[in-house]
């Protein structure tokens, strides 16, 4: 199992909070590939896709933050019209709900980050359809 892990951190919703996190990760020499913020009123959850999730967790914990590693799938999609749609369509046809999804582009590669209830099954389904599901190691630097 080489699924991608996201680092989720609980945070108060206040100015400077994102910068605080990125600073901690930078000083731990951790690359952030992608981040997402989900907030509701006074608090929120920040999710990071990073070069070393375990280490990122430790670094944040050390600064007193509550963190958790969350399973996710990183899928490389063709950077052309309909690329994202194909992934979504594949999951929908197998009745797999998307809890969270977003994408980013790096070095001309389009990466889609998905959170689904059953990552193992979603990975199988996508791989059978010929999608490239990346492991932690295969993530673009």
């Amino acid at each position: 199992m080489n699924d991608v892990k996201l680092v989720a951190a609980f945070a108060e919703n206040k100015p400077g909070q994102v910068a605080h996190f990125t600073k901690i990760l930078a000083s731990a020499n951790i690359n952030i590939r992608w981040l997402a913020v989900a907030s509701t009123g006074p608090f929120g959850v920040m999710k990071f896709l990073v070069s070393d999730p375990e280490m990122a967790c430790q670094a944040l914990k050390h600064e007193g933050f509550v963190t958790k590693l969350v399973d996710a799938l990183a899928i490389e999609v063709p950077d052309k019209p309909g690329g994202l749609h194909a992934v979504a369509d594949c999951l929908a046809s197998h009745n797999i709900n998307l809890d969270n999804a977003s994408g980013f582009i790096t070095n001309n590669r389009a990466i889609m980050v998905l959170e689904v209830p059953d990552a193992a099954r979603a990975r199988d389904v996508l791989q059978k359809q010929g999608f490239r599901v990346l492991t932690q190691m295969e993530l673009p630097v």
Binding site: E12, T40, F43, V45, V66
Partner: protein, 430 residues
């Protein structure tokens, strides 16, 4: 195990005869030596010889917090200033403290009751006692210190705080029991966890006496779990010796109150009327053996009830229930009476939240309850946090009858106290 089996198991009729004799003596002494009581007796038209039975207690005047302040510093002394041996104070939120004098006999009696209380829980002279209460003017540490010495325990007068040093002392001297506030106990549990110390494996701790602040069953369980020991609830207040007035026996079904030293009543805090046995109300205590500063019908402002059923340990001294709240801690929010302990009970029973919380009253009667998320309670999703927050809001609404705002915070974001915790901040603009 008994410290003084004869008096602890004295049959009720004999105990009551002893109480009456001591009450009559106390009333005579204060009438003779304390102008404050002499004047009160005159106002009520009561004379010492009118006290013929324990039921006559209700003819005597109450003594309040304010009376202690008004008679500061020496107005309530029943002995000469030279005959006093120790001064303790009880701090208030404003102004001068209350001055509490002990004679040599009072110091010894307070230690005696503490020894009784400790032995009741199974403490022997082999035990090692690390006292994490604040030493100084406060009764909490010194009275238990003397009590444990009376038994013959090794006593480590550590005082509160400085958790690194507490841990070192507990490890090096194989501490078996500790005495501390509930808020510090919770903090210490977190501290040990953070430092990778498993108290069950690495320490010799067996018991904790937790007091000086009211706390709930749920908090008690969290402390037991976090420190790997048995928590014994105790009750004390500086105006009545300090700790060791009432203590749990090994059955832990309420705290035996030492009735050869104190008379207890439960009254309606609003009307002052005596309440029937078993009903919750304000605890009122009269000292029976106090030499330097006897107090009649002292209004403790603590809300509790009396258990009259005999205890299987064989002690005849009746038990009181855990303090449900302080009549002065009571908050009135949107016309509803709320005790902070009700909120604590709900929070401590909820998995996923931590041990520290704060009740903030703001704006026009708005209540916000800030509580830290527990490390283990985080699943990484904002939806889960919203669910937890809504769940807590509902639970709290059911308990306190108004709907508070619940605010989840990262651990460590609320102020930590190593002494008495400040749980309520009232900034209402009304």
């Amino acid at each position: 195990m008994f410290w003084d089996q004869k008096i602890e198991t004295l049959e009720r009729a004999a105990l009551e005869r002893l109480q009456l004799k001591r009450l009559q003596e106390t009333v005579r002494r204060v009438a003779a030596h304390v102008p404050f009581y002499r004047q009160k007796f005159a106002e009520l038209g009561v004379k010492p010889e009118d006290i013929r039975s324990l039921a006559d207690l209700r003819r005597l005047p109450f003594t309040t917090n304010a009376d202690l302040r008004d008679n500061y510093p020496t107005g309530l002394l029943a002995v000469s200033y030279d005959a006093t041996l120790r001064l303790h104070t009880s701090s208030g939120t404003t102004g001068k403290p209350k001055a509490l004098f002990f004679s040599r006999q009072d110091v010894d009696n307070a230690a005696e009751l503490c020894a009784r209380s400790f032995v009741m829980t199974g403490i022997t002279q082999k035990d090692v006692f690390q006292n994490m209460m604040t030493y100084g003017m406060f009764t909490g540490a010194l009275v238990t210190h003397y009590g444990a010495e009376k038994i013959g325990c090794l006593v480590i007068p550590a005082g509160p705080g400085n958790s690194e040093r507490q841990l070192m002392l507990m490890q090096d001297f194989r501490t078996t029991f500790i005495h501390l506030t509930p808020s510090y106990a919770l903090y210490l549990a977190t501290f040990l966890e953070k430092h990778g110390v498993d108290p069950r494996r690495d320490l010799a701790l067996r018991k904790a006496f937790v007091g000086a602040e009211a706390y709930t069953e749920e908090t008690c369980r969290k402390i037991e779990e976090g420190l790997g020991l048995d928590v014994y609830n105790s009750y004390g207040l500086s105006e009545m010796n300090g700790p060791g007035i009432a203590f749990e026996c090994v059955h832990k079904q309420g705290m035996h109150l030492w009735e050869d030293h104190f008379l207890l009543e439960i009254i309606d805090p609003q009307t002052g009327e005596l309440l029937p046995d078993g009903e919750a109300g304000e605890l009122v205590m009269t000292t029976l053996c106090r030499e330097a500063m006897p107090l009649l019908r002292y209004r403790t402002r603590d809300i509790t009830s009396i258990i009259t059923k005999p205890c299987s340990c064989g002690r005849t001294h009746r038990r009181m229930n855990r303090i449900a709240g302080r009549s002065d801690d009571m908050l009135i929010v949107r016309g509803v009476n709320i005790y902070p302990q009700q909120i604590e009970r709900v929070l401590m029973a909820q998995s996923g939240v931590g041990r520290n919380y704060l009740i903030a009253l703001e704006g026009l009667d708005e209540m916000t309850i800030k509580v830290e998320l527990a490390e283990a309670g985080f699943e990484g999703q904002v939806e889960q946090l919203m669910k937890l927050q809504n769940h807590l809001t509902e639970k709290l609404r059911a308990e306190i009858l108004i709907k508070p705002q619940v605010q989840l915070l990262p651990p460590g974001s609320l102020p930590v106290s190593e002494g008495k915790a400040k749980r309520v901040i009232d900034n209402r603009k009304m």
